[in-house]
Assembly symmetry: C2
Homo-oligomer: 229 residues x 2
């Protein structure tokens, strides 16, 4: 059970603009946190996701929305940042080509620095280990190890406090996430999940991420209002 | 004792352009690694450090030198990235204002992603816990926790291998580092340690980092050829 202390109501929320991060934002707000959103222009193939993060940050009236530029495309190695690699349209065995090396490690580290600066004691991230596409950095054991490391990395940690990594979706399936979000009034039309959305923000309906999203709505018995091509 | 395997000779070296990272580069080269250097344009107050990193990368004939832009100044909170905060010229008690929130966590995470992409099984970083200015993310317990997290974060880790974080300087004092570097032929005139070097790359001789460097040369009994203002 996530709680905020009376003294510290600040939380940093990683806001990609996707379905999961929108749900996490709604959860953090519902608990009563003052939210500081952080998004990353990391060289993803399209800007539809970032546009969605801006719409969500505005809708949820965050204290501040940081969009950090880090061009992971310079490092390469993923179909999500390297336009020379094709986004697969069938679920693959093992860790797929859409895996961005060390992405959640990098994003959490930047969120950790941001949390220290704004003196937030909580970080929210929408990882989940059920429909997680096989990414290693979405598993609970990764998050636990990250938390331990973060306690030792920071000034706050040295001073005996903690910046807590909250992962409210980690054990939820996509349909459970959608149901939770609907209870909290999330407008999923504002979100973009597709790995290769077009310039108008329309989803392809074929990539892994689209398939997980579609299956989630179907299983939840909720109409999928996503704008597909 | 750091060893390379016959199969994998690749190492990613974090190269700030300072005295420590230059020494680490020399150590990694001396062991026989093919070095991939990574540096960060993170909004530091001056570019002298990055210029030094380029000179060193060239001198050591690295396979590739990535300079990644990540503007930590956007996050703020440190005298090293926020020009509104003054760099102190006296050693302070506790964690100083030059601490950049989560810096080593962020840098190691980007190095980790880079190592995965170039399929390096080793990362070298010049942290040390002796003359470490009180930064929490320079301590051995932080590095150990980071290693554990990294093993769980990466595709390599899931597949049962490891990207090893090597910290050959961690238990060395500044004078020991300098002696080691001199043995390996490091030209310290190519390095910049100063927190506020001027446009010509000249060191102030007054900040924490200059003081540690000067004291190190003195204690090592080696002439300090740094270009001071």
């Amino acid at each position: 059970m996530i709680k905020k202390t009376e003294e510290n109501k600040k939380a940093v929320v990683l806001l990609s603009g996707g379905l999961d991060s929108a749900t996490v934002m709604a959860i953090a707000q519902n608990i009563g946190f003052d939210c500081y959103a952080i998004s990353f222009a990391y060289g993803q193939r399209h800007s539809a996701e970032l546009e969605a993060s801006k719409r969500l940050a505005e809708h949820y009236n965050v204290v501040e929305h940081k969009i950090l530029n880090i061009d992971l495309g310079q490092i390469g190695g993923s179909a999500l940042t390297d336009t020379k690699l094709a986004v697969p349209e069938q679920l693959e065995e093992g860790i797929p080509i859409t895996y961005v090396p060390a992405r959640n490690t990098i994003f959490l580290s930047l969120a950790l620095g941001y949390a220290e600066v704004v003196t937030a004691n909580d970080i929210f991230i929408g990882v989940n280990a059920v429909d997680y596409s096989g990414y290693p950095d979405c598993r609970p054991e990764f998050i636990n190890a990250y938390q331990h490391m973060a306690n030792l990395a920071t000034k706050v940690g040295v001073e005996g406090a903690q910046i807590k990594i909250n992962t409210p979706l980690i054990n939820m399936s996509k349909d459970q996430i959608i149901k939770k979000g609907m209870q909290l009034g999330v407008d999923y039309r504002k979100t973009v999940s597709c790995y290769q959305a077009d310039a108008q923000g329309r989803a392809c309906g074929r990539c892994d991420s689209c398939r997980l999203r579609m299956a989630g709505f179907k299983k939840a018995g909720i109409e999928d209002q996503t704008n597909y091509v």
